[in-house]
């Protein structure tokens, strides 16, 4: 066995170990719940960018505001059915999630609120690059849909 081959084997073994570890790490909680929470964190990160400008904590920057608002729209439009999977509510997962079973009950308004969020995010994305006042004016619509969903479907 020459050195190159030995090196390749070591790299392969380390990579495998790394992949295994990462995989195990990703499965700390329920994968669907973890993915949902990660999605929410991405919303929060981008809302932070535009929120800081809307509040005047940082100077308004049209390019950065537009980028964050476009990200929010992209996030809102993502197909999330796989990680809003039945059987992953507080009833089954306990403290690993705050998603209430009512999400999956008949007549749930979750999908309607999702459509409203996309519409509000679209308006935000078209306003964000236009100025601080336009930006601030469009955030409330997005916030309203966030709250509407949390009000009905997130455990207090």
């Amino acid at each position: 066995m020459n050195f190159t081959k030995q090196f390749a084997l070591v790299v392969a073994a380390l990579t495998l170990a790394g992949v295994t570890l990462a995989h195990a790490g990703g499965h700390d909680g329920n994968p669907a719940a973890t993915a949902r929470q990660a999605h929410m964190k991405l919303y929060a990160f981008n809302l932070d960018v535009i929120g800081a400008m809307a509040k005047g904590e940082v100077d308004y920057d049209a390019v950065a505001a537009q980028a964050a608002a476009s990200n929010l729209l992209a996030l809102a439009m993502m197909k999330q059915n796989a990680y809003w999977a039945p059987g992953t509510s507080t009833a089954e997962l306990g403290n690993a999630t705050r998603a209430l079973p009512s999400i999956w009950e008949d007549g749930s308004r979750l999908d309607d609120i999702g459509v409203q969020l996309i519409e509000a995010a679209r308006q935000l994305a078209s306003a964000a690059g236009e100025g601080q006042d336009e930006l601030r004016g469009a955030i409330r619509g997005v916030g309203g849909t966030c709250s509407a969903c949390h009000r009905s479907f997130r455990q207090r």
Binding site: A44, G51, A54, G143, G144, C146, S147, A148, R151, R156
Partner: protein
């Protein structure tokens, strides 16, 4: 001995009758608003600041102008059902007079002369100024009439004895301000927080009779439905900046960019419709609490 007992029980009956008479439901003077003209446009501001829709809209509705009631509120005293306050003359408040409306808001007294339960926050609305009462009434009459019957409350003894609320009111109902307000902005903030916004109704803990604990004013409270906690607004419990509070009331986003859930989502839905100046006044007043 028998005679003494008879006298004692007569005295007891007389005492209760006297207490009930002394604490009978109060009404406003019928001439009090004679010189005032209602303005529905101004009344809409009062309506949003007062948060009427948060409790009186339908359970599954986003329509904050449709107020058929029906929402249920679980507390340690039983379950309260919000009544219909739409303009329907039979099922709502469409056939009320201004004086009856004012007596309800300011004294917690129904047109039939009964005490309302303080789930209806007249304990805060008692601080409303007369012009706002008149303007709100003008606005409420423009709202749609919805023919849904109000549902009864489901309360346990002794809380189901309405006449006892007169004694409760004598203990816990007043119209004095809790805090001083040193500037016009703080005064407006105080009016929105202590009167219309009725923040204290949830953010202050209650004693075993359901009265606000003055010693722990705005310090946060257990959730009346049992699970969870309502956060405090005093500085030791809330370190947000004035701008953070105003932005939260406008958009529902916390400084961490989480978003309001629970009952506070309803509050943001209505308070968020006020002017930026009004939200800033609320934030300044909250920030000035101690």
């Amino acid at each position: 001995m028998k005679r003494a007992l008879t006298w004692l029980s007569l005295l007891g009956v007389f005492g209760i009758a006297a207490a009930l008479w002394l604490t009978r439901p109060a009404v406003v003077d019928s001439t009090r608003f004679a010189s005032l003209q209602g303005n529905a446009v101004q009344g809409e501001v009062v309506f949003w600041a007062g948060g009427c829709a948060s409790c009186h809209k339908a359970e599954t509705s986003d329509d904050d102008l449709a107020l058929p009631g029906g929402r249920r509120f679980v507390t340690q005293f039983g379950t309260f059902a919000a009544p219909n306050i739409s303009s329907d003359p039979t099922y709502g408040i469409g056939d009320w007079t201004l004086v009856e409306f004012a007596s309800a808001l300011l004294h917690g007294t129904s047109p039939e002369g009964h005490h309302y339960y303080p789930a209806f926050p007249y304990t805060s609305y008692a601080r409303m100024n007369d012009q706002d009462v008149v303007d709100l009434w003008a606005f409420m009459q423009t709202l749609p009439a919805l023919p849904m019957a109000s549902q009864p409350h489901e309360l346990t003894f002794p809380f189901n004895v309405r006449s006892s609320l007169g004694v409760w009111k004598s203990l816990f109902l007043g119209s004095a301000w809790v805090r001083p307000a040193e500037t016009p902005e703080l005064e407006r903030g105080r009016y929105l927080v202590e009167a219309l916004g009725h923040c204290t109704e949830c953010h202050t803990p209650r004693n075993f009779l359901g009265g606000s604990l003055a010693s722990a004013w705005m310090e946060g409270a257990p959730h009346p439905a049992g699970k969870g906690r309502i956060p405090g607004l005093v500085p030791s419990a809330l370190n947000w900046s004035v701008e953070d509070i105003a932005y939260y009331l406008e958009t529902g986003f916390t400084p961490d960019f989480d978003s309001a859930g629970g009952e506070m989502a309803e509050v943001v839905a209505t308070i968020g419709r006020l002017s930026p100046e009004d939200r800033l006044a609320i934030a300044q007043y909250i920030k000035a609490l101690e």
